[in-house]
């Protein structure tokens, strides 16, 4: 077999985060791909072992942009290990924050997804409206991204009644905008041309490769930690698990757009049904000997933390698996031509962007290897993006 090797990365394979891809191409077709991660490996798991549970929360919140999912998962895990039960109001506030976090993350991605396929107007619109959600998060927590709201045994700040009115008003605006974006995604030819039938992952492959989150749901599999393994107040919050069976990047767009509506509805429900409780219980510092596993549905999919305690104020072992690592085997499959499905070089940005990668944050090159000629050439991601847009403009 002959092919050409194209290295992409480590910086900026998509969404400005470092990861290295080596693509084996035969002419225009990608025949194989190798992934190398670790450019953002910060040793957080090791660092957790040197920190108390309370300090760990702030380290967990800095893992990535799904900061609320990570902190919720962390405090839940510690609560499981310590056998604590936070007050119900705190659980509702956690759900509201997780959904606001999901809302801003999905808006970020739909915008960035538009940017990946050369539709920058969508990017500008979404990121403008995302500010509404960030304003609300700032109103509640005092921060736009690292919220530091979670505490072992509850949350750190309450949502007051004048905040509720402001959140409701913002949700109405965001819902109005989300309706418009759904219309855009359903009718815009430039999105469809670049995403329908691109990045195929069949339901069987998705299950086999242990895919998670919106990728799994866009392959028609009804799987959501919030529904299957409910945590916080999700056990009583009604919502739909959105699935589409297109198995392509377009379905991933639709799943995320529809999940925005679900998030808005969950937030409204929680605001109406929050009981009057204290927001946290007294801090316990020591976890007894034992272990716990906590799972949370982060914006990008299932997030799982494992904790081993040895009766100390610090964990003995703390393991974190973020959703993108769970999606990587599926991404490799999506990027490989097989049977009658072919991946072209021009589809790489849409597919890599389509998984909403989160390798946590910077910018460089792609390496292509031609197996037939044994030649290697590199290009930056921006060049690749421009190449892809140019090519599709020609095809029309």
């Amino acid at each position: 077999m002959s092919s050409f090797i194209i290295p992409i990365g480590p910086q900026h394979p998509a969404l400005k985060e470092p990861e290295h891809f080596t693509f084996f191409v035969d002419g225009e077709y990608v025949t194989d791909v190798k992934v190398r991660i670790g450019y953002m490996h910060r040793g957080i798991e090791k660092a957790m072992e040197d920190r108390t549970y309370n300090q760990g929360i702030y380290l967990a919140s800095r893992i990535c942009i799904c900061t609320e999912a990570h902190t919720t998962c962390f405090v839940q895990n510690v609560e499981y290990a310590m056998d604590l039960k936070p007050p119900r109001r705190a659980e509702f506030i956690r759900v509201i924050l997780c959904e606001l976090n999901r809302l801003q993350s999905h808006m970020l991605w739909i915008g960035a997804g538009g940017h990946e396929i050369g539709f920058d107007t969508l990017f500008m619109y979404l990121w403008r409206d995302r500010e509404r959600v960030l304003d609300i998060l700032e109103l509640i927590t005092g921060n736009r991204i690292t919220y530091a709201m979670m505490a072992v045994g509850g949350v750190r700040r309450d949502i007051t009644s004048d905040m509720i009115a402001k959140i409701q008003k913002a949700m109405d605006i965001v819902e109005e905008r989300a309706k418009y974006y759904k219309k855009v995604v359903l009718s815009e030819q430039s999105i469809m041309a670049r995403t329908i039938g691109i990045g195929t992952l069949t339901p069987r492959e998705a299950l086999e490769l242990c895919s998670v989150g919106p990728i799994l749901r866009a392959s028609g599999i009804k799987s959501d930690v919030r529904a299957d393994d409910p945590y916080a107040a999700y056990d009583e919050t009604p919502f739909n698990v959105i699935t589409y069976d297109g198995c392509d990047v377009y379905s991933r767009f639709l799943v995320r757009v529809d999940e925005m509506f679900e998030s808005i509805n969950i937030i409204r429900y929680c605001l109406d049904h929050m009981p009057q409780d204290p927001i946290r219980i007294k801090l316990v510092k020591v976890a007894p000997e034992g272990e716990a596993v906590s799972r949370v549905e982060a914006p990008r999919g299932e997030l799982i933390h494992y904790l081993m305690g040895k009766g100390d104020v610090k964990p003995y072992r703390y393991k974190i698996r973020a959703p993108t690592l769970g999606i990587l085997p599926s991404l490799v499959r999506m990027l490989t031509s097989r049977e009658n499905y072919v991946v072209k070089i021009g589809d790489i940005p849409a597919i890599v962007g389509g998984i909403d990668p989160c390798f946590c944050c910077t910018d460089r090159a792609v390496k292509f290897i031609d197996v037939s000629k044994g030649k290697t050439w590199s290009c930056s991601y921006d060049e690749l993006n421009k190449y892809a847009n140019r090519r599709y403009r020609k095809v029309g």
């Binding site: 090791k46 596993v293 769970g326």
Partner: protein, 157 residues
């Protein structure tokens, strides 16, 4: 909440693998921890995936316990999180790879190999995944005896 689902799975496993099921724990609802001996590790995974249709591997954790290194596979299925744990001696940390049964395990095993030095027999490609190329051979940062060196000052004052 009834935990009959969990208990029946435990009984199932005990009936099939007898003494090779070393320990089972049910700390809370929807959480099950099963320790098995390395001899039946592959068969237990095969049983879960093929017979019980527990196909979703959430992740795999490696843990240094002093004398031994433990490999934990966290599965989700049958409405619960099933953790299968297996311990290997630290002098010879080797265990069979489960990639042929669960293709999604490929990166998790590579990560454990990288950070804890466990060799997975039969894994298609155990290349470095997270550590840099110039990381010294035989140093595994997630082992307990590895101490993080504080960074050297840029210049002596």
């Amino acid at each position: 909440m009834s935990s009959s689902q969990e208990e029946s799975l435990v009984e199932n496993l005990k009936a099939l693998f007898k003494d090779n099921v070393l320990e089972t724990k049910l700390p809370m609802s929807r959480r099950l921890f099963v320790a098995v001996s390395p001899d039946v590790y592959e068969d237990v995974i095969k049983f879960l995936v093929k017979e019980k249709q527990v196909t979703h591997l959430s992740t795999m954790t490696g843990m240094d316990l002093g004398e031994k290194i433990e490999v934990l596979s966290h599965f989700f299925g049958l409405g619960m999180e099933i953790t299968i744990r297996v311990a290997v001696p630290k002098e010879k940390p080797e265990i069979k790879s489960i990639v042929s049964i669960v293709p999604g395990a490929v990166f998790y095993e590579r990560e454990i190999h990288d950070l804890l030095g466990v060799t997975f027999i039969g894994h298609p490609d155990l290349a470095r995944l997270v550590l840099s190329e110039d990381w010294p051979e035989g140093e595994y940062p997630l082992r307990r005896d590895y101490k993080v060196q504080p960074p050297k000052p840029l210049r002596e004052v």
